[in-house]
């Protein structure tokens, strides 16, 4: 294997080191990574061991809450024409059940599992952006709880979790209920994307040395693909929610057919996110299955490369199936057939994984402890859901099954078998690692069997109810159609499932009690690095990984790690540090100084949540104050980034020294910024798609663009902005005199030029009479330009920030990261604005 970074891999032979470790090294490490000592520090904490547990706990709280809603619904549907829940309440409850389960439970739960487990699995001390992770968690918790509470005021959304307009438009949903949905989703968008950045950079850049791609744990692979899928899929729902809110608040007609909008646009955007979403949820759970099953069977995963390939293939193909939610909308038959074919193709990788699990069980000897039971039970349920999935991928059958209880059965089989059971397996498997205590095996078995039976009793009859003609999302049904009996059975099953969850809650409370002994150790004899002895600092020293199953195959590893015989055995200078390695071969590159707890990200989250919440209840002045405070807190948080280092390099063991600071494309900050920009670019791309889509519906509404000379002028201004932004980092590194001032000046000029370019273009369209609330052209042109303007506004804040940093002497040629990243952002903002401008000016030609 050739080196990726020029690092001499022969240096690995120096490990494990033999000489005694210096006195006080462990104490310094423990001091640097000490846990919360005062109550307030439990809130400002950023360590993934703490935030990860909070995160899992919050996700499970929403699971229980949404489950209670499910029981209310099943009570209402137990008999025909019951009056247990009024119609309006039922419609709110089923909307909340779906929304909370999908957005506030499923995605955060798997993301939480990643936050909790990944650093340990990868041999990192923490994720690369711990404060970002904590910020995402707090925004999610506050926003999610506020969203859920809307139910108690009768203000919960009632348009279904899919929120199809025009039902959810201002005409048919005049209350603020629908706005609460858009709000709730806004939080999960923020936290999902922040989490995805953490996970991508974490998996690619903070692995233990030697952990090449073939030795990367399957769960980490799954989380990597999961995070990449979030980056591609979530922009679609971000855009959709923005457009719907623009239509609701300002009357911009994206979905209103009277003014050239089209309700189908929402469906395309929503499902381009919504179907990959299912796989976004499933993949990490499948990764957990591929980790837990080999551990419980005490053997290697059979077909490891096939499983990883299958997860990659799922990631790709799941983006080609969105319209299978739209088979009944009258799309052209050939397009429908493409989606049908892709929907079948996506089941192939799922089959590969299922048979790899079965082969693994056969190759070893399965232990029937609770994680094993949940894994096997999940497998069976998932296969049944997959088979009904193939059925509804067949277009003629879907015409019958679509929007009937058959689909309700199908999706619960897939999601409960593919995600909930694996999640419970994961909780029972990994919890001893976090709480240092195993969960009760006896209760675990009861919980499993109740849940397995309850699930099948609840959802198996629903296949039949659907074939009997019962549509979904009905608050009641008429007697005499034979729907009574299967519905009653389903209700019994649902309550058995509920009982299982109740028992589990009891077991969890028992487990996290703050007294009693805590020393579980590696009770499952797991093979991954997460089973190494650890503290808040994760492992004492980061081992060289030579196998996919290091604890099984690298003898004596636990002891060597604990004795500090591997990489980064201390906390030099009392700093929190983690090792950054190269993305493919995991060769050591530099040491990343991690931040310490601070309140600013918590305040930032509170005010961000406050901004959106207050905006929803239309107290605009208070919302603006909250928004300004949020920006201030986030700037305070960023202020302490990129500060001077006391040393240039750190000894990571055996005399190997790596730098403490890296800028440019190999730095973690650069990667994070690139990912953010990909998200922005995807939103913009999909907005461009929406523009073309709306044009294709009503080309007659399209008016001519402003005269062309203005376009050249505006493009020129944007080109200037791009050039200035690109020049700034170079000047900072090379200029002989006052590089900091010149670079800062260039960035400020660039930010101003982006704003000027976008502003002039907006003015040009306004002055030729295009209005955003009159036609779909106006709405989509102003939406595209508005997106560019939002980037210009953020660019302006960055300009202000760099000016302030310059004024306080915090811009330095030795530490160019801040300038690099702002330059990168502004270059992108200018390029994006130019692309938008070209699209709206040149397509579809000078009016038609």
């Amino acid at each position: 294997m050739t080196s990726e970074t020029g690092f001499d891999v022969r240096k690995y032979d120096r490990f494990p080191t033999q000489e005694p470790r210096p006195d006080g090294e462990l104490e310094q490490l423990e001091a640097a990574w000490c846990g919360p000592r005062r109550p307030g520090e439990w809130i400002t904490a950023i360590n993934n061991n703490i935030i990860g547990v909070y995160y899992v706990g919050a996700a499970m709280l929403f699971f229980v809450l949404a489950g209670v809603l499910a029981l209310l619904m099943r009570t209402q549907l137990a008999l025909p024409m019951t009056g247990f829940l009024p119609q309006e309440t039922y419609n709110q409850i089923f909307t909340m059940h779906g929304t909370v389960m999908m957005f506030l439970f499923a995605v955060p739960a798997v993301e939480a599992l990643g936050v909790l487990l990944l650093p340990q699995m990868l041999g990192a001390r923490d994720l690369p952006f711990p404060r970002l992770g904590a910020y995402a968690f707090w925004a999610y918790l506050i926003g999610g709880l506020a969203f859920f509470c809307s139910l108690f005021f009768g203000l919960a959304p009632d348009g279904g979790w899919f929120m199809y307009p025009p039902l959810t438009g201002m005409t048919y949903s005049p209350g603020i209920n629908a706005d609460f949905w858009l709000l709730g989703i806004g939080f999960i968008e923020i936290s999902a994307i922040a989490g995805a950045i953490e996970i991508i950079v974490g998996v690619l850049k903070t692995r233990a040395p030697g952990m090449t791609l073939d030795k990367l744990p399957v769960f980490a692979w799954a989380m990597l693909i999961f995070a990449c899928m979030i980056i591609i899929a979530f922009p679609s729902v971000i855009l959709a929610t923005l457009l719907l809110e623009l239509e609701r608040a300002l009357g911009w007609p994206f979905f209103d057919p009277l003014k050239g909008g089209d309700p189908m646009l929402w469906q395309h955007l929503f499902w381009f996110f919504g179907h990959p979403e299912v796989y976004i949820i499933f993949l990490p759970a499948a990764g957990a299955m591929s980790t837990i099953i080999p551990a419980m069977a005490r053997t290697k995963l059979v077909g490891h490369s096939l499983v990883v390939m299958a997860m990659l293939a799922t990631g790709f193909i799941s983006f080609g199936v969105w319209a299978h939610h739209m088979f009944t909308t009258g799309m052209p038959q050939i397009s429908i057939n493409y989606f049908s074919a892709a929907s079948m193709a996506v089941s192939v990788p799922a089959g590969v994984q299922v048979f790899a699990w079965i082969a693994t069980i056969a190759a070893g000897k399965m232990r029937f402890s609770t994680p094993g039971l949940f894994a096997v039970g999940g497998l069976i349920i998932f296969v049944m859901g997959g088979l009904t999935g193939v059925m509804v991928a067949m277009v003629p059958f879907d015409w019958q099954a679509h929007d009937s209880y058959f689909i309700v059965a199908h999706l619960h089989y897939v999601l409960i078998g593919g995600m909930v059971f694996p999640l419970f397996a994961a909780i029972y498997y990994w919890l001893p690692m976090s709480s240092m205590r195993p969960l009760s095996e006896r209760m675990g078995k009861w919980i499993f069997w109740l849940m397995f039976a309850g699930h099948n009793i609840a959802f198996l009859p629903m296949h039949l109810t659907g074939l009997m003609g019962m549509p979904r999302r009905v608050y009641t049904y008429l007697p005499g159609r034979g729907w009574d009996l299967p519905n009653f059975i389903s209700t019994i099953g649902a309550f058995l499932f509920g009982l299982a969850v109740l028992l589990w809650v009891v077991d969890m409370v028992r487990n996290f009690r703050p007294f009693g002994p805590r020393e579980a150790g590696n009770i499952h004899d797991g093979p991954g690095l997460e089973w190494l002895p650890s503290g808040y600092y994760s492992v004492r020293s980061v081992p060289l990984v030579k196998s996919l199953y290091p604890l099984w195959e690298q003898k004596g590893l636990a002891k060597q790690v604990e004795d500090g015989r591997w990489f980064l055995p201390g906390a030099a200078g009392g700093e929190r540090q983690t090792l950054v390695t190269s993305p493919l071969n995991a060769e050591p590159q530099y040491v990343l100084r991690l931040p310490r707890p601070s309140p600013w990200h918590v305040f930032g989250a509170v005010f961000t949540a406050g901004f959106f919440l207050i905006l929803t209840i239309q107290a605009y002045a208070a919302a603006v104050i909250s928004g300004v405070l949020a920006v201030y807190c986030i700037m305070r948080w960023c202020w302490f980034l990129d500060t001077p280092h006391s040393r240039q390099t750190t000894d990571i063991g055996a005399g190997i020294r790596v730098p403490n600071y890296v800028s440019g494309p190999s730095s973690h900050g650069w990667w994070a910024m690139v990912i953010v920009l990909i998200v922005g670019g995807m939103v913009c791309l999909l907005a461009g798609f929406s523009y073309v889509f709306l044009w294709s519906r009503r080309p007659d509404l399209w008016q001519a663009p402003p005269e062309m000379t203005s376009m050249l002028l505006h493009l020129g201004v944007l080109a200037l902005a791009g050039l200035a932004a690109m020049a700034a980092p170079r000047i900072l590194r090379r200029a002989a005199t006052r590089p900091e001032t010149v670079a800062t000046g260039l960035l400020v000029i660039s930010a101003a030029a982006v704003a000027a370019g976008v502003g002039l273009e907006l003015k040009a369209w306004w002055s030729v009479g295009l209005k955003p609330d009159v036609t779909s052209q106006g709405a989509s042109v102003f939406a595209l330009l508005g997106w560019s303007a939002a980037f210009a506004a953020i660019g302006a804040l960055m300009g202000l920030y760099i000016l302030l940093r310059r004024a306080f002497g915090r811009v330095s040629a030795e530490r160019p990261s801040t300038v690099d990243l702002i330059g990168l952002f502004l270059t992108y903002a200018a390029g994006q604005a130019a692309a938008v401008l070209l699209l709206v000016r040149v397509f579809p030609g000078a009016g038609s």
Binding site: A345, S347, V352, L467
Partner: protein, 309 residues
Amino acid sequence: MLSGWPPPVLDPAGPFAGPVTVVAWVLFVMGAVVLAVVLVALGVALFGPRKWKRRVGGERLVWMGGLAFPVVVLTALLIYGLSVTARVSDAPRDGEMRVRVTGEMWWWRVAYLDDQGRETVQDANEVHIPVGRPVVIELESADVIHSLWVPRLGGKTDMIPGRRNFMRIQADAPGVYAGQCAEYCGGPHALMGFVVVAHAEADFAAWQAKQAAPAAPSALPGAGVFSASGCGACHTIRGTEANGLAGPDLTHVGSRQTLGAGILPNNQGTMAGWIADSQGIKPGNRMPSYPVLTGRELRDLAGYLDSLK
């Protein structure tokens, strides 16, 4: 016979539902076989003798079970599915009978179209068709998205504002076929039913002729209650002053199968109940309750409407 059995989807009554039922059975058999294969493999893996386990516990199983087997099954299914899709969906042709059904919150406006596509007879909440002939349904929406589904006659198709969709239905035997709105449309979506009534060819012609005629002048006291209560602001009774367009056309309401869009049987008693308490029966629907009417007025009104055969 157990009510609800056989399930309507598996009990087709026409050529646009029949092939789909065959597809459904093929899929169920496929599903059962695949599930059996998986369960047997899993059973061997968990409990099988060592020799069997060794045969199952290798990458060969992943290749055979996870790749080759699904590819063969799915290729066959895909081709079969594509051919059935092509067979049961076909663009409307000239000369086919057309009915326009417009979804409204929470009922169905029905109009029969002539050869030029003009609306002739108006009706609501039920479509009458002759047996043995395909009928093209033009699907439109007046407000939000609805979806028309009559399981025994075929799959569902959505009604989307700003668009016009088509579906074909055909019944092979006279009868009443129940359907329901399948796309969540807010409020009492659960109570938005529909029926298709299939007649023998001659009966259909007679029904059509009767339906086209205006209501005969009526001396019943209920006619007075109808106009005095302002019912005509929302409802049309052809041949009278009532010409409202917001609600269903009532010219021949007495001849309909159901009331309240497929949810109540149609007789004088249910009619009176519906008028007095439509909001209690179907909360949120657009027809206000009329608790102000006296028992006598209600009886008269119901009697009058029931007489509009």
